[in-house]
Subunit: 663 residues, 3 copies
């Protein structure tokens, strides 16, 4: 597949815009809209995301006039359109006629209309109707000059990814038949010899619905795989229609790489779109900024270093958190440019004009309820200007770091299933701990999917890599043997792709590579902490580690708790390479010495002068260095003269601000 970025002419630029929902407003407001868009510097809008009921008010009756009008108006004002296929929410007439479209949750409860996304990903009826609309839209607007890209559906899987209906059961069986070929293979993979679960016919298999106790873990894990795959199939179904009608128009859909949204394996999806797009919303808390950077970083690597599209974020507060904080001065620009720093060539919002009514009326927008005469609109316009200044960045590739954190949806899914040593384990939190430790050290790191080529990185961190098929184990061993420095953590290398334990002592897949053997896990209660003899403190987990050879160094030992005296952190040198194991949750501060040691061994140094490390985040795209102030203080950049290392040049960087310099 050839990569395609937006269909448009002209010099490189950073696109700027929002979801635009003119159907919520009288026609006269549209003229004000486009004028204000020009003031703000808007170059593109997403149109029609939730317009099905308006476009097709009754079965087979279409009303495209208003959309023609909107497309023409935007084009006349030089604004591109990312046109949605409008299939995100089925209209009332459709679910009334076919209630079998509605999803059914794990407890057997129907999810009714009233909100959005109330459709079964596997419903044949839904597909028939939705794909018919896609074809109509594609045909009608194929030649429209405003059309810059197609936007498939919207936030696929946000609410409906896990459907337990009869349609889902049937599709699950088909998927399993395709995965396993025979029932014997499935019975073996799922370990159905346990608890009298052996299947004799395919039709006996069901989704993991509410059960008397924990359902089979293989069934659970495969249902997660299936649910992600079947939504990807739906994405492909829409895409294929669009490609057939308009082969020259790129197709995307908005991912949700953020926080605990975990059901869609975007590493598996990314190849199916012509360019990656992402939605990102921050959650309050001390790690909020780092999490944004982590997500942007991962999104950039899902995109393979190519330009990507920040399809949604917010100008200020959202409406769906328990308490929805307004953004502080500077946050909007800082957040936006952090995405740009990690490769985004577009900065867009939900939404252009804040709704007067509906479930998201208190979600901020580019034009707030207060109107264009408002601080927020002025900030939005200033950001538009800043993006125009930075147009030269557009298209520049992300510059690879020397270190990587690998991120794997399968280990995320499987590692957090029930019936484990502890239910407190959180995969993404551990990954973020490492990310923050890198930021604190002032060292750039790439967050990459497991499928990415890791061989060129000097340092690879693989946190909680619970699922390690045989091939992956070999690949990581080869990486180390070839001089790479690998670090992994507690509950890594435990099972194969079927969630079957590697026997003989943990971590079975990495026992030889790490030169250790663990007979028992020893997770900690919520209020338990253990001291390490390097002065750090562990929580959540410990292991009873035995070192299995002279090549394994003990970097730190437990100094308290039941494991006192046993190794806590080990490293086995393998030629020029090394394999490090961290057996407890240390948090960013506790990881600092481990990481420092590892980077020193790998010869990876900070690209920042000493005084800036930890205080700013550095990201590099092509010739451009982005410096994001991580602190609440102004940083004097002039203090870092030429002798202090590669300084960012003179000037100061306000709290939470971003500087862009030449590399």
């Amino acid at each position: 597949m050839t990569f395609r970025w937006l269909r448009r002419a002209g010099a490189p630029r950073l696109e700027y815009g929002a979801d635009y929902n003119p159907e919520q407003w009288p026609r006269e407001v549209w003229d004000e809209d486009v004028e204000a868009m020009r003031t703000a510097g808007v170059t593109i809008v997403s149109l029609g995301i939730f317009s099905w009921a308006r476009l097709e008010p009754a079965d087979g009756e279409y009303d495209f006039g208003w959309l023609d009008d909107a497309m023409d108006l935007l084009h006349a004002n030089g604004i591109l359109v990312d046109l949605a296929t409008a299939t995100a929410s089925p209209p009332p007439w459709l679910t009334t006629a076919y209630p079998e479209i509605l999803p059914v949750d794990r407890e057997g409860r129907t999810l009714w209309p009233g909100g959005r996304q109330h459709w079964r990903p596997t419903s044949p009826v839904f597909r028939r109707y939705a794909l018919r609309l896609v074809r109509e839209l594609a045909t009608r607007y194929a030649a429209h000059p405003a059309l810059a890209a197609w936007h498939v559906n919207n936030e696929l899987g946000c609410h409906n990814v896990y459907d337990h209906s009869s349609d889902a059961a049937s599709a699950f069986r088909d998927w399993l038949r395709s995965r396993y070929g025979t029932l014997d293979a499935l019975n073996e993979a799922w370990g159905t010899a346990f608890w009298s679960q052996r299947y004799g016919e395919w039709d006996e298999i069901l989704p993991p619905r509410l059960a008397a106790t924990h359902p089979n873990p293989g069934q659970q894990l495969d249902f997660k795989r299936f649910s992600s795959a079947v939504l990807k199939d739906y994405l492909i179904a829409e895409r294929d229609i669009l490609r057939a009608v308009t082969p020259e128009v790129p197709v995307t859909t908005n991912f949700m790489v953020m926080g605990e949204t975990k059901a869609m394996d975007y590493a598996d999806w990314a190849a199916e779109v012509d360019f990656v797009a992402n939605d990102h919303y921050r959650q309050p808390g001390p790690r909020s900024r780092d999490e944004l950077s982590f997500s942007a970083n991962l999104t950039g690597n899902l995109a393979g270093g190519r330009p990507w599209f920040l399809m949604e974020h917010s100008t200020s507060a959202v409406n769906w958190q328990p308490v929805n904080l307004a953004k502080r001065p500077g946050e909007l620009e800082r957040d936006s440019l952090t995405h740009v720093a990690h490769g985004a060539d577009a900065v867009c919002f939900f939404q252009w004009r804040q709704s007067r009514a509906g479930a998201e009326k208190f979600h901020s927008a580019m034009v707030p309820h207060a109107g264009t005469d408002s601080d927020l609109f002025r900030t939005v316009s200033a950001l538009g200007a800043r993006l125009r200044e930075l147009a030269f960045v557009a298209g520049a590739p992300r510059t690879r770091a020397r270190a990587a954190i690998v991120f794997d949806w399968t280990s995320w899914w499987a590692g957090e299933q029930d019936s484990h040593p502890t239910d407190r384990l959180r995969y993404r939190r551990e990954a973020l701990d490492w990310y923050t430790a890198f930021l604190d050290a002032g060292v750039r790191v790439d967050v990459v999917p497991l499928s990415a080529p890791i061989e060129d990185y000097d340092v690879v961190v693989a946190p909680i890599l619970y699922v390690v098929p045989a091939g992956l184990g070999k690949r990581l061993s080869a990486y180390v043997e070839n001089g790479g420095h690998l670090v992994t953590t507690y509950f890594s290398g435990i099972v194969d792709e079927n969630d079957h334990v590697w026997l003989g002592g943990y971590p079975g897949a990495f026992r030889d590579l790490l030169g250790i053997r663990i007979e028992e896990f020893a997770p900690l209660l919520d209020d338990e902490r253990v001291r390490l003899d390097n002065g750090t403190t562990g929580t959540l987990w410990t292991d009873r580690i035995d070192v299995t050879g002279p090549g394994t160094e003990v970097l730190a030992s437990y100094a308290s708790g039941d494991a006192a005296g046993r190794p806590a952190i080990t490293r086995r040198g393998v030629g020029a390479g090394s394999a490090t194991y961290v057996s407890t949750r240390l948090g960013p501060d506790g990881l600092a010495p481990v990481l420092g040691d590892l980077l020193a061994r790998a010869g990876v140094e900070s690209e920042l002068p000493a005084g800036l490390r930890g205080r700013v985040e550095l990201a590099i795209r092509g010739d451009v260095r982005f410096l994001m102030n991580r602190t609440d203080e102004e940083i004097n950049l002039t203090a870092f003269g030429p002798g202090a290392g590669p300084g960012p040049g003179p000037g100061t960087l306000a709290a939470g601000a971003v500087a862009v310099t030449e590399s």
Copy 2:
């Protein structure tokens, strides 16, 4: 409609009694009952509340003999009867024959028999059977001399107000058709252009059942309106039968003005009964006593100042709270007389004799398990005597205060819906904060429904008045222009009756009146607090306020947090009147200076001598002053001589006690 109080002869008196359930006891106990009732001073009992299964043991077969007996016995002993229509809980034979009577909750779960009130308010079958019973009862007892009033059903809506069944869906559509006339109007009101929700046929509309995400807020709000209205319709249906059969017998039903019971808009119901009756139970906590007074006060104003009936409260512990506290010495009298002070002409309990069996056997009663030889029965009898002493109060009107707190169910419902700036906001808690601040200041205040005439009050407090239709905005502006002093708070004046935001800057409906403009809300996290420069502390919420004209004074500004330096409390003078805005939750202590200033400006002074303010609550009925001790200490009333202001006269007031003096 002409107001009718109890049908009875004789001098004014305060009625005293309880629910009486003789069917739970052998016949010989009844004789003990009436004797003990006379000892206790009981004048009235509610009979037959849950007697349907006993009165109609099989479809169309009636057994009234035992009830005849009970009515005759009570009459022979001079005890009046508030006769229930017995429709509160359908008998097993009915729900077995017609399971379609059973309510269905939001998640699609049937609510089965076993408890009580398991009927759909909209069920045609239930109505047919229940109204048949009402007619039978009314006809049979129309001429009975004990009959003093009719008691419709019981605690309408306590458990079954929100029914999502197919009956409810059908009735909801009828109600909406009547409200909106056309689907276009409904689509506009609900903002269905958002999320592809446009309805093409009435039959597509459903109650807000469990959805993939938050249902449409208009659908939610109208379902709340509908659910209250449809129960009121049921009340009217019973009432109309009773009125037709016994036009001279007044009809009531027991409201539940208390705590977080919020689904029934009693301001809308009050006109449908011949006299208002209320049930009130206290919840533990430091504001428990104030909440009781608040509820009694509001009930009195729902009754328009006319006598009302305290239909249920408890002699001591209840059974349905997590921990059910017994009442301390004095509490029973203090609680009862606080209701009387706010206009109650009857003090009744659930129930007369504590049950031996059933779900409420650990709910206290006038005759406890221990029997009549008990402290509790002696306390109950003493209260009966005290009520006889206070008979002269009966019929006296509540004496209006000079200040009012307006209370509005629509803002309560809509203001606490999901997808708002914070889900921590609590409407009634803010109103109670103000009420406590008035009590602390020793100033009487009326808690009145929004429909009450507020024009004669010098001060009106409208906390969190989120929903402000255009007419209401004008009414409140006129109130200020005519010299009134209005104070409102954060999240007031935000939307119209359809939950559509007033645009142009918050609070849209009050922007001109208050002389401020807010571009963004800034709610606070749970552990966040902001200091104000007047020494008080805000929680929950802040606003980014701009003062829009020279007429607006800043009474206090934020001294910490993101809004530091911005106004926190403002006042705009309008001729002799003023409009004050409080942008954060201050709590009773923090409201004290704001309120003090407001009262001074309005010339409203405490009617208590300085030393009593805050320590006692004052309420006035006709010529009678009630002084309720709010403290845990004895208060020496003699210390307040004539020179100290309008003193209550000599004597002392024990902790938690009540004094009654001439005005």
Copy 3:
């Protein structure tokens, strides 16, 4: 019924083993298994627990070959088999063909396959299929020389005890008809005069499904009784087939006497098995060890002092708790021998070899994932050797203590129902408080079912004995009159067997015996504590006690709170006997003085030297004394010479270890 212990020849011994699931492993592993079993000292395994799907892969098609092989292999290696009837989990083909087998929970949700135990105890279809399998198995293996016992199903009721399906409704009606005979009797027992619940036909009765509010307490309590009874019936149904086919082979099933597992009234079940077997798993926390001892003690008394079988516990961590702690060194032996000390003649585990796959793969086993070359397997083997050394204990009866704590499922069930004075009350926790107080005092106590003969005990503790039928009240009074010392607590003696309150003042059933009368309960809020004048502190509950006669002593009074000055602990002497009442939760430390006083009065002394009391637990079987170290320190036993009382002999007792000496 004659008691039958295992069918085997040879000298007395303590059996040792585990659940063995060879069907989860390739055939070649089986040979390793039996070799390792011999190393570990395994003498018996439970086979076929979850093998239905393997034994009957399709309706009526059996595959016993593999089981023949396993039985033969075990027999060849001298290992006995406790053969399961394999009915614990129905195979997929059965629930696919008959979905009406699946249980339905209180909320109407079907419990689907995927886990285990997804069958309705009352399903006629399930019974037909399951009992057919039992007969097949019994016939096939009747003569097998390895067969030592039959294991009915597995952990009956662990997940499916409360089924609300139509099958359950029908069976519930049958059970009620049998219990009550007439509807009048049922209506009276359930108090259906309350809330219009009078039943006119048996078919109107339902299980206590989700209701609008709390269902009838009689209905709830009888449903608990029914649910326990109907599972017992199922146990009997399997047992009767087994007995008919192999009258000489004893039948058991594994109880779950542990923690909050409360739905099965094992006191009612115990007589139905040929020997009692139990599963026990510890929960983390400071009382964890005492809880284990409590459960073992109770199990031993359910077995009537006869040998019992510890069917399951864990070698180390389990997999189903939030955080699953590994066992510390010594814990495995200490836990195992504590069961032996209380009468267990077998120590078995779930399971032999840790699974590679399935829901319990992280549950520890005798052979861990690490294999036999592991600390855990060496510890397991050492325990096997220790059990062989202790073989002489086998068959020895438990030696009765002089004090007993009575344990009653009915009071547990009824006492913790809703709509009570507090929902914080926990029956078993109060019983465990007393047990710990006995351990702290170094005095042996038996935990006995209420049906046990208590007449020979000098001291009987009856905590929270809420349900007291008239006969029981008389029995306890007679016990005291005959010189016994009875102590009971708050919320005892309140209701009869129908949950009807004993009138006239609490505790109605014990008022005369205790010489007190309580008019009102006064439970405490979570953060409330009251001081007693003996220096102890009460939580949870207080009573307003009046002493009713000169024979009642006040042992301690409240010194704070609303009850200050009133009695907190009372005792009435009755001849040589006495009846003590404790009206608040004191916890083990607060109970110490009460218990000390009681024991002194009864002349019950510790059998331990003073220095050992509280530090070790003493249990006696026949001639053997078990000393379990309760501390984290080594205890020097030599310090207790002959002069110090009955010492355990020379030597030291490591932290958490167990010593066995002659009595």
